[in-house]
Symmetry: C2
Subunit: 231 residues, 2 copies
DNA sequence: CGCGAGATTGATCGCCCTCAAGGTAAGTGG
DNA sequence: CCACTTACCTTGAGGGCGATCAATCTCGCG
């Protein structure tokens, strides 16, 4: 546990938001932060709860979940290690728009919003960075919105796989960031449909599947194939 | 035309973003802005084009459209008179994530991003307001995302109608903000499905429809009915 | 009146969900 | 080492929602 805690300053510095922060500010922020350990499925915060802090994933993964009255759930985003989340709520003093749950054993750093805002208030450049961050998230969400509304399940899956590829011009071996049922939820699909789609791509010779690891010999071909299937 | 131009300062001041700006700053921003007139269907900017300005709708309506490779289109948002749009792209120096098209004859004020950023850079409080604005948009998009992925067409329609009601506790007469086919696209539906859903609600005695004007005698009943239909 | 855009209604189809039944690993205790 | 368990994934059959195609209707307008 100490090992992780000692690591925190360097981890924080690796995030795009904090990379340019002066040492002193980071330290004072860390003094008022604390690590939280979560078991599999544990809830970090629930939708509509008052937001007092935002978080950095130190190890494990966090699912951001939007639930409907019917009990159906959609995973809005899967937060990986060393990623910040929920930092955007800070500026409304409001509540969390989603529920955050741990996948597997997970450790997060809890950073109080009040102090963060206080520091930000006095550092225009930092504000500028926050604006850029939020702007990026906006673009991400707009893209998601488009994909959900106008693309088929297969096109969404292909887009998702292509996003995992570091480059499109060379063969790639990618690992799914979570168990398949969770990735399915992330894509707005049932596990059954997800499985069937993977099978289709496999039968078409576009990918090979090994547990959580996918081999994509020709990303471009995958891209074209999905486009051709819209007709 | 002069009449509209003369009106601009007061219109700008009515927007949440500019309401607290000093007169002098608004004036200098206005000096470098210009009004643009659009006919029905005219394109203001296209997706992926480099962003040099953001806009305020002076009269008419603007559709923000996300298109897929297949030619299908989804209206992400319908911008009303006196609303700002595309202000969020400023902080990435990037490109527009959607296409903007006029619905009917429309006039917009084009505000250059560069100058806006310059002013913002020197006014931390203004930055803070921008952050709050972006945060609100993030919440809006997350809500949209949830609705698209986990709610049925009927639930989405009802949510949309309820959003148009000023209060839920009293009867409301609301006007659709655009022609029905455009509202359908906004909800991710075809005009046919939209029409059928309205008919269903009408037959259930929950609304009456007159051209673009809807009468909702009991919003609460509408809300409950949609919830009950999830089973 | 005749025209045309938008709205409605009907018939049919396909995608994806649901429900249900195996299948395939990993871990457990004998 | 091997049944047994458990979690996860896969595969199959069937159904429903919403899209598509097509015909009719309404209304504003020249």
């Amino acid at each position: 546990m100490e090992a992780i805690t000692d690591n925190v300053p360097s981890l924080l510095r690796e995030t795009s938001l904090f990379s340019a922060w002066p040492e002193a500010l980071l330290d004072s922020l860390l003094k008022h932060s604390k690590t939280v350990h979560l078991g599999s499925g544990d809830i970090l915060f629930v939708e509509k709860a008052t937001a007092n802090a935002f978080y950095l994933v130190l190890s494990g993964r966090i699912h951001l979940i939007a639930a409907a009255a019917t009990g159906q759930e959609k995973i809005v985003e899967i937060i990986q290690e060393n990623d910040l989340f929920a930092e955007a709520v800070a500026f409304l003093g409001g509540c969390y728009p989603v529920t955050a749950a741990a996948e597997g054993s997970t450790t997060v750093l809890e950073i109080p919003l009040a102090l963060f805002l206080e520091i930000l208030e006095q550092r225009p450049q930092l504000m500028r960075q926050m604006l850029a961050r939020l702007s990026m998230r906006l673009h991400f969400l707009v893209k998601e919105l488009r994909q959900l509304s106008v693309e088929s399940a297969e096109q969404r899956l292909v887009s998702y796989l292509l996003d995992l590829c570091p480059v499109l011009d060379a063969a790639a071996v990618v690992e799914l960031p979570a168990k398949k049922s969770a990735v399915a939820a992330r894509l707005g699909l049932t596990p059954e449909t997800f499985s069937r789609l993977l099978a289709r791509l496999r039968e078409a010779g576009l990918i090979t599947v090994n547990r959580r690891v996918l081999d994509i010999p020709d990303p471009r071909a995958l891209q074209c194939w999905a486009a051709g299937h819209s007709s």
